[in-house]
Every structure is written in C-alpha cells, then in structure tokens.
C-alpha cells in the first residue's frame, strides 16, 4: 500500500538543507574571524614590543648625547674624571630626599652633566687660568650660564628643557647674590638649587687648576656657613642628614690620582 507523503517532510527537508548551508557558512566565517583576530593579536604584540624598544633606544640615545655634551664641557675645563658623574649622583640624591618624583630625579640626574656646557665658548686662557680672575675675566666666565641656557632652551625635549634650566640657574644663590639674574629663594628652580649645591660640594672636594681639594672639615663648615645664603637651607639639611650617602658616592666615583 502506498503511503501519502506528508508535505511537512519535504518542507522540513528543505529547511534542513538551508540550515546546513547557513551554518556551514557561519562556521567558516567564525573560523576566519578567529584567524584574523589571532593574527592581529600577534601583530599587536610585536608592534608594541618594537615601539617599546624604540622608546628605550630614543631615551638611551638622549641620555648618552647629553652625557657626551657634558663631557665636552668637562674636557674644555680640564675637569677630567668623574666630576659630571658625581654631580649627577649628588643631584639625584638631593632630589630624592627633597621629595621630587622618581621621574624628576632621573631627569635631573641625566641632565645635570650639561650644567657647564656654556663653557665651551669661553677661551682657554680664562677657563684654565691658574691665578685669580680679574673682573672682566670673571664677567666673561659668568656668561656660561646664559650661553648654556641659550644653547638648550629651544629644544622641546624634556631632558634638554631640564638641562636648560640647570645650565641657566646653577650659579644663582638663595640670597639673591648669584648670577645671571640674581634670583632668590624659591624663584630659583629647584633643579638649579640642587645642582648649585652638588656642583660646589664636588668642586671643593676636587683638585682644580687654581686650587687643591679642601679637607672635609673646611667643606662642611662652608656649606653650613652658606646655608640660606648660597644654598637652599632645606638642601643643606638633607646633605648633612644623609652625609654618609654623599661620601659613599664621592668614594665610589673618585678620580684616579693624577701623576
């Protein structure tokens, strides 16, 4: 006997075929999407890594160039050895205990080697004169702050901006008797106040063409005497509070004994 075929069956059959086609297509599409996403993730990772490598490269290059520029100034003034490295480390320490952010401490550390870069244009006859400078010579040498500032100020790079401030203000004095602008107190940028102390401490501790290194007692007496005059009193307090750390840097980065 012949059964009458249920019409629903062919309809369902048709639906099933359509469903199969659509789901196959959807599965294919989903697989593609997954593949695209996996490739994209991998690429993103690579790109980020490359970007970070470039960033490090850029930062390191800046630091090296700044350090080399500082060394150029150092060669000119025959302050060979580790003067700029010590000033950098003293500055870092002062900045840290003063309460500047880690980033600022680092900027200061890497920019401070350029504080005397303006000296590159001062003639040797003045720069390396063994005797006392006359007034005219002193005025000339004092120009190095403004020259350093002018050399660096036009750069928008953070590190060079910091360096320009340091070059400009590291000979200002807390009581307003420094140069080039006679700024006083907190008018002087903290970077300038810090480098001033770091630079003087190192200069007094080292032999120079025009003087021998001072002994510690004499140095400490002068720093105390100049607290609030030449130097920011807060920084002098920090210096004595953490004296052992400063002396450790001085020992670690001491210059080889010259013959």
């Amino acid at each position: 006997m012949q059964f009458h075929e249920n019409k629903l069956i062919s309809q369902i059959q048709h639906l099933k075929e359509e469903f199969d086609t659509t789901t196959t297509k959807l599965i294919k599409e989903l697989k593609r999407q997954d593949k695209i996403m996996a490739r994209s993730d991998k690429r993103q990772q690579q790109e980020y890594d490359e970007l970070m490598d470039l960033k490090i490269e850029l930062e390191e290059t800046q630091k090296e160039i700044v350090f080399i520029m500082g060394a150029i100034g150092e060669y000119r003034t025959k302050e060979l050895g580790n003067h700029v490295k010590r000033v950098a480390s003293y500055s870092y320490l002062l900045a840290k205990y003063y309460g500047l952010s880690h980033k600022e401490c680092e900027l200061l550390k890497y920019a401070s080697p350029m504080h005397d870069i303006g000296k590159v244009v001062i003639p040797d006859s003045i720069l390396n004169k063994a005797g006392r400078l006359d007034e005219q010579e002193r005025a000339f040498i004092q120009k190095h702050s403004a020259i350093g500032y002018n050399l660096l100020k036009n750069s928008h790079r953070e590190l060079l901006q910091v360096a320009s401030i340091i070059a400009h203000e590291h000979h200002e004095k807390y009581n307003g008797e420094g140069y080039p602008n006679g700024l006083s107190g907190e008018e002087i940028h903290i970077y300038g106040r810090i480098t001033a102390l770091a630079d003087v401490f190192d200069a007094l501790s080292s032999d120079r063409v025009y003087k021998k290194a001072w002994d510690d007692e004499r140095i400490f007496a002068l720093l105390k005497e100049e607290k609030g005059k030449h130097f920011d009193p807060k920084l002098v307090d920090i210096f004595f509070k953490h004296l052992d750390e400063f002396l450790e840097i001085r020992d670690r980065l001491s210059d080889p004994i010259s013959s």
Binding site: R32, Q33, I36, M37, R39, S40, Q46
Partner: protein, 124 residues
C-alpha cells in the same frame, strides 16, 4: 567598463582596477573604516566579473601593513574571486616584503582557505 584608479594615502593603498584584466592593491591598508573604503572596489570587482568578457585576470596584492578589518575585506574579495574562478582564469600574486612575516602568514591563510584559487606567494 571604466578603469578605476585610486591613489595611495597615508592609511590606504594604491588601487588599480583595469577592465582589461588587471587588479592591483599596493601599499598600506589601515583606514579608519575599511569596509567603507573598499566598498567601491568590491562593487567594481563584482561588476567586472559579471559584465566584461575578459577571460584572464591577474591580481597583484602587495600589502606592507594592514589592520584586521582590511584582512577581513581581503577574505571578502577572495570570496568573490572564488565564485568566478571556474569561468575565468585567475592568477593571484600575494606579494610580501622578505622580512614581513605577518604579510607572509596571512598569504598562507588565504591559500589554506581558498583551495581552488591559484595564489602565488612571492617574496620581494
């Protein structure tokens, strides 16, 4: 049918669509809206296969940088090409810069997905 040529921009590749049987996509592809950028290109390709009598087509794709939505669009383009693969002779050259692993790998993805298409991976 007219030749359609689109000059490269910072974010989009140079496009040449020649009804005599040549399609070229060359450069970087990371537009903000890939689907919008490629829409006229996809329309052109569909028209090309339905309207022209050309029987042989060469497709050069030389991408140096692309985003994921461009990658999706390339799959869509290959889907269209795949549809006409039997009636046309189609050669696809997926060109990649020697060092560019990412572009090479997506070329491999297309080969894997489009078994019937003739896709040549060519290092430059």
């Amino acid at each position: 049918m007219e030749i359609l040529q689109i000059e490269a921009t910072k974010y989009t590749p140079q496009i040449i669509l020649d009804p005599d049987g040549y399609i070229s996509i060359k450069g970087k592809s990371y537009p903000e809206n890939s689907f919008e950028f490629y829409e006229p290109i996809i329309d052109w390709i569909e028209n090309y296969f339905t309207l022209t009598n050309t029987t042989k087509t060469i497709i050069d794709i030389h991408i140096v940088y692309f985003n994921s939505s461009s990658s999706k669009v390339f799959f869509d383009i290959f889907d269209i090409v795949d549809e006409y693969n039997n009636s046309h002779h189609i050669d696809i050259n997926w060109l990649y810069d020697k060092e560019n692993e990412n572009v090479y790998e997506s070329g491999e993805d297309f080969i894997e997905d489009f078994k019937n298409l003739k896709i040549n991976l060519i290092s430059i």
